[in-house]
Amino acid sequence: MTTHDHNIDKVTGTPTTGHEWDGLQELNTPLPRWWLWTFYLTIIWSVGYWVVYPAWPLLSSATEGMLGWHTRTAVVEDLAALNVQRGPLVAKLEAASLDEIARDPQMLEFARAQGRAAFADNCAPCHGTGGSGAKGYPNLNDDDWLWGGKLADISQTIQFGVRSAHDKSRAGAMPAFGRDKILKSEEISEVADHVRALAGLSTERGFNPEVGRKVFADNCAVCHGEQGKGNRELGAPDLTDRIWLYGSDKQTIMDGIRNGRGAVMPHWAGRLNPSTIKALTVYVHTLGGGEK
């Protein structure tokens, strides 16, 4: 302790801290005072934050702050600003017909971008993020449409839904031929083979085409047509193409005939605004399967 004194470094003339490590001494170079004042200034500045912004937690809430700033209101303001920015294009979308939107490159691009976002928010849970569908939920990228693939058809389906609660809903369901005892088990098996034959798929050994054709004509043709080409008015699928909503194996087909089918799509009119429904229509139409 007694070894300390006011050491002055001979080379620089600066006092040392008096500490020594293996013969090395540290110069005591004081920091300029403005650093200190800057530090105090930042502390004072931080007090301003406490007053102006929400800061101190209370029992059930927090101090409000003079500005009344809130993360939630900030988001609402940002969204409002975005809507103002999009306003002119949204107005254009509202005024234009679906065909006009599809023809105008600028409106088409805007509608597709809006539609994609709305699709991800509302449609993706059932139809998948890319509209690729799943068992019982149609793939919207292909060219096979239960209720029609023109812009007007798609718009109607989105607005009013399928077998939904809306008055204008698209209606029509596949009856439960087995459960309701309309057809016997053997008949169901025969007609299922007949349906596979219509699509050019293999049939089981011992399949009797005559019985299958007769059962089909008596029970199925009224909706699916004599040739099994389907009927979009009723949402009856084309049974001759390569696209199967539930699957093309005999078991799945028999299951459909026995218990019926009646998948539901909710209506979106009243839940989404008209311009969003237009954007969704255009987006789905341009995924690839849209009909002229």
Binding site: T2, H4, H6, P30, W34, S132, D142, I243, T286
Partner: protein
């Protein structure tokens, strides 16, 4: 009184009484370590004296040149045609474009900035290897604006001596008026500095008119305010404090230097021992050694950072050479050789003291390597700019679903194709694909296969490729996407895959 002593005395309670008394007495006598010394010191104001000479002239020239470039460059026009801005240097944030005379950079070409930064860093290193901190002394904005602010200060408050005297005396109406005049002029220059800054981000003449009429966007006024404040504070008040306490370059520079790097150096082999003119004559007449330094302090008085260069290499020295001018002026008056302070190396001083010749080596490993890196990077950048593509195409394959089976069994893949038109004219491109036998190509929203892209814009379109060919299971065909400029026939291509089930 050191805290350690107090504890030591308290802890010594068990020590016998005479020993305790002795310790207490000793503690009273011993002033202890300088624990009570302040950790913070008030700033020592630097009153830099004006000086004339070679380096001062160089500094004035560079000051006029750099400030001239900074203040006037936004007004330089450059014709790029009707669809592009006509400002030579423009950072166009809303449209995401950077214009520099004949160069136009898009956001995805920001890697040019990397090259620019490499060249800038290496130039700084090369400068340092050749002649120390010449960047700091002549070109750094902090130095240039501080220099200008010093000149303004001298104009209002007089040179060093006059200014110091006035500051020591009580404030009079006259000195107060000169101080107010100085600060107003400083603020004016600072305001003009901030004003010039925002002109690089918008069309300069338009913005000047908007600023004058109060129609400019808020952000422009905000930036002018910020830069006015920083310029005024840094160049007027902080000055050498920025170099000493805020800037990292002096620290980096100290690690990059070597024994051949020229630095502003006091040639103590010639200057020591310091003595007055009379004493040196006396000593010399007796055959004793007398230095050329007369300890006139001129080198210290002119220094903008308040350094005494005679103390050796110094962190505070920005190597502006003004002390060289000051010393040379004195030496000329005394009829002695100039160059007592000069761009020199410590090694050469030591060599001269030993009677060896001085060595100056400009070409050495580090200067060659720095120069080579500058040349190579610059060359790559020039090549990249010279061969810059004015057309671009990129393709993103749909991820979900990767393929679609159509009702008749055909397989379709969908792509998002982005076309880039970097020319200032609208262009039309014909799209085609190759790598698959028979196919249908449909572009959403376009009746044909021609895609129009506006001037200096990109456009993304959705394209559908459908084939009815029989594909092998898990097929993954290499697909070429070709765009051909309908007017010039220029061909650009990229590739992606066609995926089958």
């Amino acid at each position: 009184m050191g805290a350690a002593h107090t504890i030591g005395v308290k802890g010594a309670a068990a020590v016998e009484a005479p020993e305790l008394v002795r310790l207490v007495e000793q503690a009273k006598l011993d002033p202890g370590p300088p624990d009570d010394e302040p950790l913070y010191a008030a700033r020592r104001h630097v009153y830099a004296q004006s000086v004339q000479g070679t380096f001062r002239r160089i500094k004035w020239t560079l000051l006029l040149f750099t400030l001239g470039v900074y203040y006037l460059l936004p007004f330089v026009r450059w014709d790029r045609g009707p669809n592009a801005p006509s400002q030579a240097v423009l950072i166009d944030f809303p449209n995401r474009r950077f214009y520099f005379f004949f160069i136009e950079i898009w956001p995805q070409e920001i890697y040019y900035l990397t090259g620019l930064l490499i060249v800038a860093a290496m130039t700084l290193f090369l400068m340092n290897a050749v002649a120390g901190r010449i960047w700091c002394g002549y070109l750094c904005p902090q130095t240039v604006w501080t220099d200008l602010f010093f000149a303004i200060e001298r104009f209002f408050e007089g040179d060093r001596r006059e200014h110091m005297l006035a500051d020591r005396k009580k404030l009079t109406l006259k000195t107060a008026a000169s101080k107010i005049g100085k600060h107003i002029t400083w603020l004016g220059v600072a305001w003009w500095t901030g004003g010039a800054w925002v002109l690089y981000f918008a069309d300069a003449p338009t913005l000047v008119r908007e600023l004058a009429t109060g129609e400019a966007p808020f952000i422009a006024y905000a930036w002018i305010a910020i830069l006015t404040l920083t310029t005024y504070v840094f160049a007027g008040w902080m000055r050498e404090q920025v170099c000493l306490y805020m800037c990292p370059w002096p620290r980096i520079q100290a690690a990059l230097t070597d024994e051949y790097a020229l630095n502003v150096t006091y040639r103590y082999d010639r200057g020591e021992p310091r003595c007055s003119v009379k004493k040196s004559e006396l000593l010399r007449s007796q055959g004793a050694k007398a230095g050329d330094c007369v300890d006139c302090q001129q080198c210290v008085h002119v220094c903008p950072t308040g350094v005494d260069i005679r103390g050796g290499a110094n962190l505070g020295c920005i190597q502006c050479g003004l002390c060289i001018d000051a010393c040379d002026a004195i030496m000329r008056k005394l009829g002695r050789a100039t160059g007592l302070i000069g761009y020199e190396t410590e090694m050469n001083i030591q060599r001269r003291l030993k009677g060896e010749p001085a060595i100056y080596r400009l070409v050495r490993a580090r200067t060659v390597i720095y120069a080579a890196i500058i040349f190579i990077t610059g060359g790559i950048m020039a090549y990249a700019l010279g061969t810059r593509d004015y057309t671009g195409v990129s393709v993103i394959h749909d991820r979900n679903p990767v393929y679609v089976r159509l009702a008749d069994g055909a397989i379709r893949n969908a792509y998002t194709i982005r076309l880039l038109n970097k020319e200032q004219e609208p262009r039309a491109f014909m799209l085609s694909v190759a790598g698959i036998g028979q196919y249908d190509l449909e572009i959403i929203g376009e009746p044909g296969r021609e895609i129009l892209v506006g001037p200096d814009q990109t456009r993304a379109v959705r394209a559908l490729v459908t084939t009815r060919e029989k594909l092998a299971p898990g097929a993954r065909l290499n697909l070429q996407f070709v765009i051909i400029d309908s007017h010039s026939g220029e061909r650009t291509e990229t590739h992606d895959h066609f995926v089958g089930p």
